[in-house]
């Protein structure tokens, strides 16, 4: 942990060197059901990967596999994080490498924004002494990055969904990992909060070199933000490559089994997808 802008461990130039997160021919079963088949992709440091696909395609399952959150289940193939097999990581070590923003909804933790962000320092804290000043600093920086400093003492239970999602983002950021995984972070947000969140993620990705892997239903987000896209359908990889590739060869039509219209964006920057 360094001071100043060094909130994220292991910063580097975007896209340099080897893959920081890589799946190779990864398959996953729960009981007899084959949820993921032969998934391969690689993300390098500082890249932005959007995972899209229809409901039930296995997007959330893939995210959980990347975080080793699945209790039970059987897998084949490999996932590596910073070149090391995922299975070789200790739980705390993994938490220092990958942070997580869960899907919104469900149980709301009974903590203030600051308390919640402090919990994310667990992998760094000592069992006896608890949080050090550098942990407190990381929490302050994380709150600052998402503009939550003024709301630090608000309780998560009394916040709007949009504010709470920013608090979750701050908490994940406080984890100090180089990779962040997000599961439909904008799912229940109004347009203003959704675009604020998107802008925040882009800022963290470009400005701080955070590697972002995000499951999303907003097909226009990867088109606007650029970066990489992974299309899943029925547990299989249907496309992996630059996000602009989503517009070609009927990738979306085949994955979603639905028609799409492709328009020039009225602001003159890129293209826009609309479901028919």
């Amino acid at each position: 942990m360094t001071g100043g802008n060094g909130l994220l461990a292991g910063k580097g130039q975007p896209g340099d060197g080897q893959a920081i997160l890589e799946a190779s021919r990864f398959s996953f079963w729960i009981d007899k059901a084959n949820i993921l088949r032969d998934i391969s992709f690689a993300v390098r440091r500082g890249e932005f990967l959007s995972i899209v696909g229809p409901n039930g395609a296995g997007k959330s399952t893939l995210l959980k596999c990347l975080l080793r959150l699945h209790q039970g289940g059987r897998s084949e193939g490999t996932i590596t994080v910073a070149g090391r097999d995922l299975g070789s990581y200790g739980q705390r070590q993994l938490a220092k490498a990958i942070s997580y923003v869960p899907q919104p909804g469900g149980w709301i933790p009974p903590f203030t924004v600051r308390e919640f962000a402090k919990l994310s320092r667990f992998p760094h804290a000592s069992t006896v002494a608890g949080l050090s000043p550098s942990d407190e600093l990381a929490v302050d920086q994380a709150l600052e990055s998402v503009g939550m400093t003024g709301m630090a003492n608000r309780n998560l239970k009394t916040m709007s969904g949009g504010e709470r999602q920013k608090a979750y983002l701050a908490a994940a950021l406080a984890q100090g990992a180089g990779i962040m995984l997000l599961d439909e972070p904008a799912a229940s947000l109004d347009p203003r909060h959704a675009s604020e969140l998107a802008a925040l993620l882009e800022k963290l990705n470009r400005g701080q070199g955070l590697t972002v892997v995000m499951v999303t239903h907003d097909l226009n987000h990867p088109l606007r933000a650029g970066g990489l896209a992974l299309v899943l359908a029925e547990g299989e990889r249907r496309y992996f490559g630059p996000a602009s590739g989503l517009l070609e060869n009927g990738v979306l039509e085949k994955a979603f089994r639905h028609g799409f219209l492709y328009l020039d964006h009225p602001d003159g920057r890129g293209r826009l997808v609309v479901a028919r």
């Binding site: 009981d31 959150l69 739980q91 990958i98 869960p102 009974p110 919990l119």
Partner: protein, 330 residues
């Protein structure tokens, strides 16, 4: 008022209750009597009332600790050592001891009830654990259901043992099931104190992980908590502490429900602060209940389990009625 200040106040108040309780009873003992050599009141104070108050304090602390960690694990205020089968497992162990124990557990001597209760507590926890594991993973909902089932199962077994016992043993079992601190021998206090205090220290060391667990299991795992290990640790410490308390004082209900819930309302969910507060408040609470059990029907004594149940029933309803429309009980 800041949370650390509230913790300090609660601990101070609890210690005051602990200090005051032995002076009250059927007759009031004046502190001055303690300074007079060979005063009969001093004898009552040192040999009867103080050990009993300490026993109540330790038992209350242990049961509250068990309630706190189960409520945190299941994120449900109704999940307590009682509802999850630890107490009924321990009760089963103890009643088997009363029924057959004499000859079978002769080698254990006066530790017989302790061993058989702990065995019962572990048996129930082992069953809950195995059922949960056999359903794949360690899902909390499965664990909760398994606990409820095991609780009913062991409660029925206790009735069965009672039915099979002769009138004398059956009466002993019944009396013990109502809970009493009168039967806690002074010699047992050291064991009780050791187990409850070690358990509290251990839980205190787990506090940051318990905080994360209350934020959500996936979230906790993503922050570096080894879920399976933590759940196992919680189960073992709850079984040992609650099993020990139950073996000595009987299954005193609702303490593990009321004290942690009330403390959370006052102090929030930071378990580094909650753990010491719940230890002291739980202890003071049961000391007061014990005092009430001695005074309400004086000179007869009301079983303490009845006192806590009479308080716990309305408390339980209060939790339900203040729950918001989303069914969020906390």
């Amino acid at each position: 008022m800041s949370v650390p200040l509230r913790v300090t106040l609660l601990v101070g108040l609890s210690l005051a209750v602990l200090a005051a309780c032995p002076f009250f009873g059927l007759s009031l003992i004046s502190p001055a009597a303690l300074t007079v050599p060979d005063h009969p009141d001093a004898e009552v104070f040192w040999r009867l009332r103080l050990p009993r108050t300490v026993a109540a304090f330790l038992a209350g602390a242990g049961l509250s600790l068990g309630g706190m960690i189960f409520q945190a694990l299941f994120r449900n205020p109704l999940a307590t050592p009682f509802t999850l089968g630890v107490s009924s497992g321990a009760s089963f162990g103890a009643s088997v001891y009363f029924w057959l124990g004499g000859p079978v557990l002769m080698w254990a001597g006066s530790l017989g009830p302790l061993f058989s209760s702990l065995l019962g507590a572990f048996l129930s926890m082992f069953l809950v654990w195995s059922i949960t594991r056999s359903r794949g993973g360690f899902q909390t909902a499965v664990m909760l259901l398994a606990g409820v089932v095991i609780n009913f199962f062991f409660s029925s077994l206790v009735l069965f043992v009672q039915y099979m016992s002769d009138a004398h043993d059956s009466l002993r079992i019944m009396h013990w099931l109502m809970g009493s601190l009168a039967s806690v021998e002074t010699a047992r206090l050291a064991e009780l104190g050791f187990v409850v205090i070690m358990g509290t220290v251990f839980v205190f060391s787990l506090a940051p992980q318990i905080d994360l667990l209350t934020a959500g299991e996936e979230l906790a795992a993503s922050r570096g908590v080894r879920l399976k290990t933590l759940k196992l640790e919680i189960f073992i410490v709850a079984s040992v502490v609650v099993g020990t308390v139950v073996s000595l004082a009987g299954p005193i209900g609702f303490v593990g429900l009321m004290v942690p819930h009330a403390c959370r309302l006052i102090l929030g969910w930071n378990h580094r602060r909650l753990t010491p507060a719940i230890f002291f408040v739980g202890g003071a609470f049961l000391s007061l209940c014990d005092l009430a059990s001695r005074l309400v029907l004086a000179p007869a004594e009301l079983p303490i389990g009845i006192v806590t149940a009479l308080l716990g029933g309305p408390f339980f309803l209060w939790i339900l009625f203040r729950a918001n429309s989303t069914g969020d009980l906390f």
